[in-house]
Amino acid sequence: MRIVCPMNAILAPRPLWPIRLARRVVSPALFDFWATRLNPLWTLEQPLARLVSRSQASRDAVTLVLRPNRHWQGMLPGQHVNVGVEIEGRRLVRSYSPTPLDDGSLAITVKAIAGGLVSGHLARDARIGDLISLDTAFGDMVLPGKTDDLLLLAAGSGITPMRALLRSLAARGMPIKVDLMYWARSRDELCFVDELDALAAAHPRLHVRHLLTREGAEPDPRVDTVPLDAIAALADRRVLACGPGGFVQAARHRLDGQVAHFDAEAFSMPAAAAAGDEGEVQVQLARSGRTVQLSRGMSLLEGLEAQGIRPRHGCRMGICNTCACGRQSGTTRQLLTGDLSSEPSSQVRLCISAPSTDLILDL
């Protein structure tokens, strides 16, 4: 997913006094080592969750229910959460849009992507009791107290934030008109069919339409040609779209100037990083809020310095690790070996890495 400005969903309650005392006296590393021996969720600060149940959501998707520990600060329906699992000694992090359940658990629906390390692990290998790390929830596809009527556009896994939004609206008695258009290739790839149909049956203001682009003699139209005559008062609607980058782009183009608001979130598919070192890319610095154009032929450190930005650094040859910084998304090329790396939320050394695609760095 490709969303930037993180925001705290819900303010955490003040921790209990034994925890406040422990935080002053011992380090999280020491506390966690002993406390997690008693219960793997008893950490001093780190939000963690345990996998408590799993069920098939569609032919190729699984819904996992996670029970977080007390450090989890909660989320608003429609937000995303970085979820981390340990695979082969590495903690790999991906964004999912969970549905908050009434008992405080989170339900994430995971579709195994071909070659996807984390999705494959969660969909196939994750077992009840496994530990999963959680980061702070983020994302702007949320519903403020009073909102315009909605048009929700979802493709594939893009349904997950919509489901969370619809459940929360249903709990409030569906105060506004909502139309959901949900695209998938075939019927057996649809998730939450029964649940969505039941919601639509219970709430006359909600209309749900499934569109299947590769099934039947006459496949349903894609977002760029889909007729919107059935949507009442389109011009007053707020549109939320979620799906692959191409889908979101087509939706934006289709609705340009016709609706009140358009908010979207796209999965950033592992970009097919072009080889070579020509051209420029956009590098977003998440902490300072700046965005700069950098050459693909130059190390990130040199490129940033040429822009007047001075990240901390040392040896300039990939030895001392001073310039290592987090790469939230995008692909970099290691200049000594030419290897490409695109693992989200991992460390990259600025002095020996050049950008291959647009990047988001923790700077």
Partner: protein, 374 residues
């Protein structure tokens, strides 16, 4: 002083030498995985269990007087062992970023804080950057004698150094404190080259860390033992001192043996990767020993491999060493290794010898041009 003759490498040979060493890095990097993660987690567990067992044994005597002395001795040994492991195999290596690939916030090179009086932040600067980039380059690597000792004849002699056999002993016992104030440049402050305001700013985080460490080992834990305050205090003090002595020995063996060389500042001008490797090789020395020595020294028994690949997981050095040794032999380069008594004997000899005026030998000068060429 060097008694070894290294073959002078042509620039093509130097390039090939660097390429072969780079190839090892690439291969090991690609192979890093669950085995290495399990190893460092095992080390973390050893540190914790040894530490708790050591402290428990130190307390035991307070309640069971009959085992006072043996329990106290065992407690000191285990606590010292825990502190040595935490300092060397865990802290030093994690702070190099060797386990950053695990993406575990508790094993992150930038945030790890170790259990000694020196702050992780200062260490990352003086050690990871200055010492590892400019290894044994005079005027750039502060680890050459730590501004206190004259280890090499290339350092200018002053009458002060006549006292260095004694100073070295004191430094060894208080080594963790020496490391803690290294980045403060107390000498420059005394000489008036650094303002007192700056000194105060620099000292604040160091002082906080020192206070925390002193409070933990010399106030809180002894107080927990109640009437047994003094034995616990002394036990903790001895464990810290043993750790200081051990780390001093290992670290001095790493760069100050008889065959280790120092380099002038000019040597790093336009330094190629091959040159850089060569300088690391000539400035470093290994300690031959078994697995136990490897673990207890934080794998600095493979100082050469550590300087070639400071960011690769240290548990790989022993296997890498076999290949590095072979490469060095093929390129006619001396691979400096020896037993702990032999290497440390050479360090002691250097400390005594260069307390007195001395001049660089001719052979060393003959090897330098190899490191100066473009």
């Amino acid at each position: 002083m060097s008694r070894v003759r290294n073959r002078t490498l042509s620039s093509a040979e130097l390039q090939a030498f660097g390429d072969e060493l780079d190839a090892i890095r690439a291969r090991v990097t690609a192979d890093i995985g669950p085995r290495d993660a399990a190893y460092i987690r095992r080390i973390v567990a050893s540190v914790r269990w040894c530490g708790v067992a050591g402290r428990a044994l130190l307390f035991l005597g307070a309640f069971v007087h009959s085992v006072l002395i043996p329990a106290w001795i065992a407690g000191v040994v285990l606590l010292a062992l825990s502190k040595i492991l935490e300092n060397m195999e865990l802290g030093h290596n994690v702070m190099h970023g060797q386990y950053d690939w695990m993406n575990d916030p508790k094993l992150n090179g930038h945030t790890y804080e170790w259990d000694i009086v020196a702050t992780g932040e200062n260490w990352r600067k003086t050690h990871n950057f200055q010492h590892h980039t400019y290894t044994n380059v005079r005027g750039m690597d502060d680890d050459i004698g730590y501004g206190l000792l004259r280890i090499f004849p290339e350092q200018r002699w002053r009458p002060f150094y006549l006292m260095q056999p004694v100073i070295a002993m004191v430094f060894m016992v208080l080594f963790q404190w020496g490391v803690a104030i290294q980045e403060l440049r107390v000498g420059r402050w005394f000489a008036g080259k650094k303002s007192t305001a700056q000194m105060r700013d620099d000292f604040r985080p160091v002082g906080r860390k020192m206070g925390r460490q002193l409070l933990k080992d010399y106030v809180v834990f002894p107080l927990l033992a109640g009437p047994f305050f003094l034995p616990v205090l002394l036990g903790n003090m001895l464990a810290n001192t043993l750790r200081s002595i051990w780390t001093f020995i290992i670290i001095f063996c790493g760069h100050f043996t008889a065959d280790a060389e120092v380099f002038p500042k000019e040597s790093i001008r336009n330094e190629s990767r091959g040159h850089w490797y060569l300088r690391q090789l000539r400035g470093s020395s290994n300690i031959a020993g078994g697995k136990l020595l490897n673990v207890l020294s934080g794998n600095l028994s493979h100082q050469i491999e550590h300087h070639f690949y400071p960011d690769l997981p240290a548990n790989r050095y022993a296997a890498i060493a076999v290949e590095v040794k072979d490469i060095c032999a093929r390129y006619g380069q001396h691979y400096n290794t020896g037993s702990l008594p032999r290497q440390f004997g050479q360090v002691i000899w250097r400390i005594w010898r260069h307390a007195l005026p001395s001049r660089p030998g001719k052979k060393l000068r003959a090897t330098e041009p190899a490191l100066q060429g473009g």
